[in-house]
């Protein structure tokens, strides 16, 4: 019988191991699975390569994971945001690596990873420092650079509604990287604001089909990251 529902965030992230590549959903705090990230901080896996659009705010969520020295390398498009101090300090001190990727290329690399496509050509970054050292090729007189798909060992994603099969619905722009990250990991772990009975989600509107999801945990009232940052809270509490 299939039932992907896990009872605790601790159990959900228990198998994440040292050196793993972990995709973490979110565009800033929208869609960031903060409870799963905090559980990963408690769990302690280190030397992680994290794929996420940003690097977190304040001293909570992704920023706290980085501050806890669990992240060896970030693959992202925009490693600074308002209230983002943790990553810049470690980066300038040479304590964390950065692979900077244009946002659309990052999305497509994740999509390709999930779709079994090892590499593809894009026009973005041609003639810029981000294309340096990359293979390029001309198609119809225009130059493109070769980019590689990314696969992860784990993805941590936040959604609005889930069922025991792992079918997911998202809310507004919190969807962002969630659906593609679900496809690109060996083990996708999802925190949902609500878990409903199978059949309650109309198959016509499912955004992430359950096959891409391994574990689901219900977090009814996820923390409001900007409030935690405004209150200058720091995880672990």
């Amino acid at each position: 019988m299939i039932d992907k529902i896990i009872k605790s965030a601790t159990e959900a992230v228990s198998e994440i191991y040292d050196g793993a590549t972990v995709m973490i959903g979110g565009f800033g705090e929208a869609g960031s699975p903060i409870e799963l990230i905090h559980a990963l901080i408690d769990q302690g896996a280190k030397d992680l390569t994290v794929v996420s659009n940003n690097t977190g705010s304040g001293q909570v969520g992704l920023a706290a994971l980085i501050a806890n020295k669990q992240v060896k390398k970030m693959i992202c498009s925009f490693p600074r945001t308002a209230n983002s101090t943790v990553f810049p300090e470690l980066y300038n001190a040479g304590e964390i690596e950065l692979e900077l990727v244009p946002q659309g290329t990052l999305a497509e690399r994740i999509r390709a990873g999930g779709a079994g496509i090892p590499a593809f050509y894009v026009p973005a970054s041609v003639n810029t420092p981000l294309a340096k050292g990359k293979e390029s090729r001309k198609f119809n007189e225009q130059e493109f650079v070769l980019e590689y798909g990314i696969k992860a060992d784990f993805s941590l994603v936040k959604c609005e509604t889930a069922d025991k099969y792992g079918n997911l619905l998202y809310h507004a722009t919190a969807r962002n990287f969630g659906p593609i990250m679900c496809t690109a990991a060996n083990v996708t772990i999802v925190q949902a604001k609500k878990i409903v009975d199978a059949g309650e989600i109309d198959p016509e509107v499912v955004i992430t089909p359950g096959i891409f999801v391994k574990k689901v945990i219900e977090i009814i009232n996820p923390a409001d990251e900007s409030q935690l940052v405004a209150d200058e809270l720091k995880y672990p509490w």
Partner: protein, 223 residues
């Protein structure tokens, strides 16, 4: 419109208005963070423009009212916004399919430097201690049909932003079609930079003095 900046040329509001006038009815538009965001406030009567925000919304509405913010409904600048009736949400790969795939008509971006050939630098000064961050800028300039830049004509230190060659790392090469500054509107054509419109009290010589590349007037040659 009153010039609130109390200096020669157009105010930021007027610059945004000028851009809005050049966006045709029915366009799908992506607006960058900062001054570009102001363009949405000046769509002329009788035109409908649909705004795409690359974090997953087609049909972006106004900023969210205070007290009505939804932290999961934000624009590319991570500000709380609203969606219009008829809007759609989508994931990032679909969003950049719209952008890279040439489905967006116009993108309005800010700039640090623009070259005479339309090269754009707007993501990094290349300073060794700066944290590089690019976001979606390189994808936008590579895929959107028309790239408009809106920027002050010179830097805060008074140096030209429009120059022969950009000295900062590029966002894209030969991508800018038109530049809207506080002093003028300038087209980037294959034959060089052509002044489309001068702000009130700005003459060609004044503009040329503040520009690091040769400017042309459309009247100079047949076009």
């Amino acid at each position: 419109m009153v010039n609130t900046d109390n200096k020669t040329g157009w105010s930021r509001t007027e610059m945004a208005q000028k851009v809005a006038l050049d966006i045709p009815d029915g366009s799908y538009v992506n607006l960058g963070i900062g001054i570009p965001e102001m363009v949405a406030g000046f769509v002329p009567e009788g035109r409908e423009v649909i705004y795409q925000t690359e974090n997953g919304l087609l049909g972006m509405g106004k900023a969210a009212a205070i007290g009505k913010e939804d932290r999961e409904l934000v624009n590319a600048g991570k500000k709380c916004i609203t969606s219009i009736p008829g809007a759609s949400y989508f994931h990032h790969a679909d969003s950049f399919t719209m952008i890279r795939g040439g489905h967006i008509d116009i993108c309005v971006l800010g700039a640090m430097q623009i070259s005479k050939d339309g090269d754009l630098a707007n993501w990094s000064t290349g300073a060794p201690n700066a944290i590089p961050a690019v976001g979606g800028a390189m994808d936008l300039v590579a895929g959107v049909k028309r790239i408009f830049v809106i920027t002050q004509h010179v830097t805060k230190k008074g140096l030209p932003k429009i120059m022969e060659e950009c000295t900062f790392p590029l966002t894209g090469k030969q991508v800018v079609e038109r530049i809207y500054t506080d002093l003028a509107i300038i087209d980037v054509n294959k034959d060089g930079l052509f002044v489309r419109e001068l702000a009130p009290d700005v003459d060609f010589d004044y503009l040329q003095e503040r520009t690091g590349a040769k400017l042309n007037l459309y009247t100079d040659i047949d076009n």
